[in-house]
Amino acid sequence: MSVAWVGSQAVFLSDAIQHAAKLLASSRCPVISFDADVHGTRSVIALAEKLGAAYDHIRGRELLNEVALFTSHGGMFTTPGEVRRRADLIILVGDLPASHHELILSWASAQPDLAGKQSRRWFHLEGGEAVSGGKDAEGELSRQVKAVILSAEAASLGTAVALLRAELAGRRTATPITNLDSLKKALAEADFPVFVFSGNTEEPTSLAMLQGLVADLNRSKRASSLFLPSDDAAWGAVLTSVWMTGFPPRTGFPNGAPVYDPERWDIQRMLRDKEADLHLWISPGDEIPAKQGRIPLVALAHTASPVAGAAVTISIAAPGIDHDCVAYSSRTGTFRATRASAPSDRPAIAGIVRQLAQALPSGEAESC
């Protein structure tokens, strides 16, 4: 079975690496989109520095507001373990990604053993306009955990959070929130209420507003929030990038030093505006990258055939399936070492990327 192609031609892996390295080396402004486990991410960032390239996670757009909550605001957070064991009141905020529903349901079937009372209540704050697709599944989640619905007519989630904060702080608002009194009563009785939220790409300020609400509550009682990233692997890449360079993605290395700038290093924009002159795509997922105009594409993908339009395609392993891996998990709120579920010989991202870095002529690094 072939694992490497130049154009549509199957080649030896070493030849594909040489060819890709040549393209990278001659590129003035390469950009890297990636999705990888921790060790893959480490190799990608080291390569980006060597190339003077900009990098972003392939779900970078969803990450923006989640990252910005920390870089510009901060907040009060707790862990999934504490939610399960201590939260006697859980308020789900907005549509939470389906990938986290199993975790949320697992709390419903467990008693909070560290709470004063061995039971918990559920509420669900909804935005008026459903985010694409999530609504039905979300309604199902609410039903399964028997959540009381909080909604403010057609108000968006961001507006609903703002209204709720105002009401809880004793300021009257014009728009009524359903079941507000019942939430107020539940909050008064709860020892450790937790607001569970995820990124809200449409309304970035809603995350800071929610933290404002939590801070208000903490003036006199305890409350916290649980952050469930829109994508666990992407959040793992954020954390890894932060320790390696000091910055989350989107980061680039103009003149060798890392520079964090979410607008400047928006890879889709750079490709559209032809600022970038080479696109390195690295992902073990199902998504297949689209070549943008004439900009050459080097694709490291979980594929058995060459990616259409790619100058070079290399087939890579899926972390945790083909090989053991370390990845972020919202089940524990930190990294976890996982065994391969179906071990194979497919090359790991980290191995391929390191070979690419080694194949570059040394001292290379002109950058955009």
Binding site: I45, G74, M76, K221, V242, W243, M244, P258, D324
Partner: protein, 543 residues
Amino acid sequence: MLIRLTGGEIIDPVNGASGRRDLWFEDGFIIDKPEGRRADKTHDLSGCIVMAGAIDIHSHIGGGNVNTARLLLPEHHAAHLPRPAATPLSNAGWSTFTTGCLYAQMGFTTVVEPAMSPYNALHTHLELSDIPIIDKATLTILGNDDFLLSLIRDKSSTDMVDDYVAWTLASTNSLGVKVINAGAAAAFKENVRSFSFDDVVPAYGVSSRGIVKTLQASVNRLGVPHPLHVHANNLGLAGSADTASVTIDAAEGVPLHLAHLQFYGYGTEGKRKFSSEAARLAEQVNNNPDVTIDVGQVMFGQTVTVSSDVTRQFLAIGNADPKKTVIIDGDGNGGGIVPYRYRKNYYGSLQWAVGLELFLLIDDPWRVFFTTDHPNGAPFTAYPDLFELLMSREARDAKSAELNAAALELTTLASIRREYTLEEIAIMTRAAPARLLGLKDRGHLGPGAIADIAVYRRGSDIAGMFREAALVFKNGDLVVENGKVVHFRWGKALRLKPTPDKAMVRRMQAYHEERYGLSLDWFTFPDSAIERDEPFAEVSCKS
């Protein structure tokens, strides 16, 4: 390769008087002068002093809270000056990579991350493994975790406590145990906002004292070389000297290490009800030979406080500068990130002086350790200036002249004449840390020690001398020349590896399945998860 260092003044108090003599090493270890052999390489160190590589026992260099601080403050890293390129990630700001380089350039070769949350052990070790050149170690945090508090509440046997502590040390790959504001983080979850040594965690009916004493005894029984590392209650508050004082008394003849004592050196005298109690605490330390302390010196400028003392950090939110903070109610301690700028005002000046008083009034350099509690009192890059303050009364007087006179008047600093000698510096930053941590293979330059060697060019500019080591060898590899990193290598994380009791492993399996709904392997990891050759090295327990 056989290497000879000649012409330098060897300062190695463990192995005799200072003086000019040759030092030989081969294959990463220091050896006796080999008879009849010629060195493959000789370094002429005329005009230089030669010490063992320095060891930092308390510096927050990696793990969940440190990384959250980086995420919270991208502008903080951008402020770091770009460094010369040509090496992988050499330009990164406050990154893992820079951390290793900056430490090595100052002649430090081993650094302990003192606050690893057990469930964050994999994350912490991943970060530490990305810190180049130096060796690392971690202290694992216990004392606010449900399992231990339940054991104490239920009056479980000492064997049970020891098995749990040993299991935690083994599964987190740590070198020792730290307790941080014992019980306060658990109580904070019940909305308890002030917590002292004899206060009780409501849900467990267990006092802070009870937790500290339980862990101190267990660490001692297990033969963990490093005594229990205690971050006491009431950090930073006026009157916290009383808390430190009762904590020191509670040592009761068993070894105990008190972290960053400077942050507890405060009384309630003066117009602002914030004064120095350093002289009293120093005397108490002098009279308690089982107690060791590190200082946590404050230096001026912007920094960020990173602490697993969630109660204290929550109370400090109002002081945040810039105004953004993270507070975490964790599985156990959690923590808080509060950026802060130490100003040359009354408070900053007093804190600065309290730290120096402790350094200078505690007589025994074997029992006072050199730290800024990086980054809490100051980033570790301020170390060279701190060495100068300790070694030069003139430097202290010059700095004092820039500071708040009313604050300094409430301290004894101006009256202290002591100046640290190079031998005392070598004890405090090399020999004593090695002994405190149980690292027999370092901290000195005798035959058999690993060749971790720092060479400084002797000069009147003390800070300059310590900022840029002339040469640094790590395990015999030349890694720094003229203050610049010339060679990269990967160090190891030092750990105790006690064999966990089988019944405790089963109990931990059951506990995690029942309480977290997850099998134990969600919380533990094999060495291979670090993906480096030999990421760890073992240190033995006392028998």
